[in-house]
């Protein structure tokens, strides 16, 4: 064939590109793993993180990143022994990508992992941190699978079972005898996890779920069929263990069909008021269980919110607060354990585990006196808020 020239050209170009990409990957290694913080000058504690910074779930990753960066800046301003170097990579909330991001961070010389943000990716990546003995504290991956069987993984957020049970207790207690419906995302471990535990607990308390409708991730545009089912079942309370984006659509569509139940959300509902263009009147009266209330009068919260708004020009959501708390919890535990930055990862990991399971307590934005059990789960009390006049009001 006559095209042989073009083809040869392409072969050479492709081969060169291949060599280049390998070289680029190999190259980053030299700069990455060389320094374990042992060089002269300021000692550095490398905290890595991974979360979705692009794609559909990026709002959570970006919030965690921004919250964490504020915490890092605060700590670096006052800490004289060492500086925290914080690096967050984009995993698009994908398990395969989270392996890549973790390995990137490993090349960079990660000492402690603060992540990953989303559950699915976290389960995948935590299997690697467990093998490598890197201590991991996830701000927001809430499934029980994240920590199961891995002694090095801890959570800042509630576990899903915990939330489901607490929500069931609250509804059973405060709305006795009312009909309860649930709409949940059955392709999301977070949503399904909360729902399953909610259902079990609620039924054990003698409640009955009038209607439970699910939707898969792909068709998150339209909930009219689910709402029609809720309405016809006469549900007075609709429990929404889902994130706020679909929730906002559900509220709008419910209003369109003149259906006005009490919506009861969980921590994923947090953020709904910040959605650009969202008519907050739609969310009036919505109840949600969140560990973080940006309108709280708490001093620490107010300071954080002010700083966050000044830096990023938006109201922080719970994920930002989780990121902030995670950094501080790691820092406090690191100091309390008397660790130094030039210790190998295994030693840091073991000492941190001992610290976290040994009565370490941290007062954070998302809960006072947080403690951890040996499964890695956090113990803190959730707060139920109701949305009134566009802000959260504690119940």
């Amino acid at each position: 064939m006559k095209t042989s020239f073009v083809k040869k050209f392409m072969v050479i170009a492709l081969a060169l590109a291949m060599v280049f990409t390998f070289a680029a990957c190999g190259g980053s290694n030299d700069s990455g793993s060389g320094d374990d913080g042992g060089e002269a000058g300021a000692a550095v504690l490398k905290i890595g993180s991974s979360g979705p910074l692009t794609g559909g779930a990026s709002i959570y990753g970006v919030a965690v990143k921004q919250g964490a960066e504020i915490a890092v800046a605060e700590i670096n301003a006052q800490e004289s022994d060492f500086q925290i170097e914080f690096k967050m990579e984009d995993d698009e909330a994908d398990g395969e990508k989270s392996v890549n991001t973790y390995n990137q961070l490993k090349d960079w010389g990660i000492q402690i992992m603060m992540g990953t943000v989303t559950t699915g990716a976290c389960i995948t990546a935590s299997a690697l941190t467990f093998e490598d003995r890197v201590f991991e504290l996830t701000p927001s991956a809430s499934s029980a699978d994240v920590t199961a069987g891995k002694d090095n993984v801890f959570q800042v957020c509630f576990t899903d079972p915990n939330q489901g049970i607490k929500a069931a207790d609250y509804i059973a207690e405060n709305f006795p005898g009312q009909k309860v419906g649930v709409i949940y995302n059955n392709s999301d471990p977070y949503s399904t996890g909360i729902f399953n535990n909610f259902k079990a607990e609620f039924e054990s308390k003698g409640g009955e779920i009038a209607a439970a409708e699910k939707y898969p991730d792909d068709t998150n545009a339209d909930y009219s069929a689910q709402l029609t089912s809720m309405k016809s079942a006469g549900a007075e309370i609709v429990f929404l263990p889902i994130y706020y984006t679909p929730a906002s659509v559900i509220m709008k569509q419910a209003k369109d069909m003149n259906y006005a139940p009490v919506f009861f959300g969980v921590d994923g509902m947090d953020g709904i008021l910040d959605m650009e263009g969202f008519d907050t009147a739609l969310a009036e009266g919505v109840m949600l269980m969140t560990p973080f209330n940006p309108w709280s009068t708490d001093e620490a919260v107010a300071a954080f919110v002010e700083k966050y708004q000044a830096t990023y020009n938006e109201v922080p959501n719970q994920f930002a607060a989780d990121g902030y708390d995670a950094i501080y919890a790691l820092y406090n535990a690191f100091k309390a354990a008397g660790l130094s930055t030039d210790q190998p990862n295994e030693e840091i990991c073991d000492a941190m585990i001992a610290q976290f399971t040994g009565g370490f307590s941290y007062d954070g934005l998302t809960g006072a006196a947080m403690t951890w059990n040996d499964k890695g789960e956090v113990n803190k009390t959730p707060v139920v808020c109701v949305i009134e006049g566009g802000i959260y009001v504690d119940r």
Binding site: K214, A225, N258, M275, E276, G277
Partner: protein, 295 residues
């Protein structure tokens, strides 16, 4: 009543699919390419309308026109820069390029508008939220009503346009036989550009209507409706304008009914299952022309 509600919801969703599918079908008819970036043009249209109303405080109808103008320009630009250089190389190379354009639009939108979902204010919000019928038993939203009406008007308009006007006839000629049309003195390049322009303007309308009914607006908003509309276009017989309309409506209704009466998890599987069965019975779609190869 629940049945009627579901039917209306299905018709409304289907109308959006139909408008998107019209764009798909026209572009396919003329350039024989699957323009996978079409769904993302919808998303851009919705963002433009959103920005016009939120930041510039323009009235809703002006924002729609603005979105149409921007999308038209975008459509012409995409065709000229990405697709034209590959004309005549077979559909697969252009298909991959279209996927590249799709990635590009999504990621550009992510950089420009951020990842946080915007809540699109319905362009019919001034009319109130819905009409109550049968003493509140049945509610019909303005969005559903206008989407359906818009789809019908657009379909009639496009049928007349391609049938009656000079440009429309040129489009049909180019679809039938690119080379012969050129010999007849039709400017093929500008005709194809024109088709992309119209398809993209329709996409802008679809974007606004879609987000009026389902207000969460994200960079990935257009992707799934795009695939569904592509399915709808094939379902009705790709290249056929009434086919796109019929396919869109049917896909919408099947999707909603499937979700309501069979299984919300399997609603997509049901839609695609029906598509497969239809294609096996009618291999070129409901209203598609059977193409026989000349031997």
């Amino acid at each position: 009543m629940i049945f009627l509600t579901n039917l209306i919801n299905g018709l409304s969703l289907g109308s959006v699919y139909a408008i998107i599918a019209l764009g798909y079908t026209m572009v396919y008819g003329i350039s024989k390419m699957l323009n996978f970036a079409h769904g993302d043009v919808i998303m851009v249209g919705a963002y433009i309308s959103f920005c016009a109303t939120m930041y510039l405080n323009l009235p809703a109808w002006v924002s729609v026109i603005l979105a149409m103008i921007v999308c038209t320009a975008l459509g012409i630009l995409i065709e000229g820069l990405a697709y034209r250089p590959l004309r005549g190389t077979g559909s697969l190379a252009v298909l991959i390029t279209a996927i590249g354009v799709s990635y590009f639009l999504q990621n550009a939108a992510l950089l420009i508008w951020g990842s946080a979902p915007k809540v699109f204010t319905s362009i019919f919000s001034a009319l109130g939220s819905s009409i109550s019928l049968f003493g509140g038993e049945l509610t019909v939203t303005w969005e559903a009503l206008f989407t359906l009406v818009a789809a019908v008007i657009i379909m009639i308009g496009m049928t007349l346009f391609t049938g009656q006007t000079k440009v429309g006839k040129a489009m049909r000629a180019v679809s039938e036989d690119n080379g012969a049309a050129q010999l007849m003195g039709i400017n093929v390049n500008s005709t194809i550009s024109m088709t992309f322009a119209i398809g993209s303007a329709l996409a802008a309308i679809a974007g606004v209507l879609l987000c009026s009914s389902y207000p969460a607006l994200m960079p990935t908003t257009g992707a799934m409706p795009g695939i569904k509309a592509f399915t709808a276009a094939v379902f009705g017989g790709i290249g056929s304008i009434p086919g796109a309309m019929l396919g869109g409506i049917l896909i919408g209704v099947i999707e909603i009914f499937g979700r309501a009466y069979i299984s919300s998890e399997l609603s997509d599987a049901i839609v695609f299952g029906v598509l497969i069965i239809v294609l096996l019975v009618k291999p070129s779609g409901l209203l598609g022309k059977k193409i026989t190869e000349k031997v």
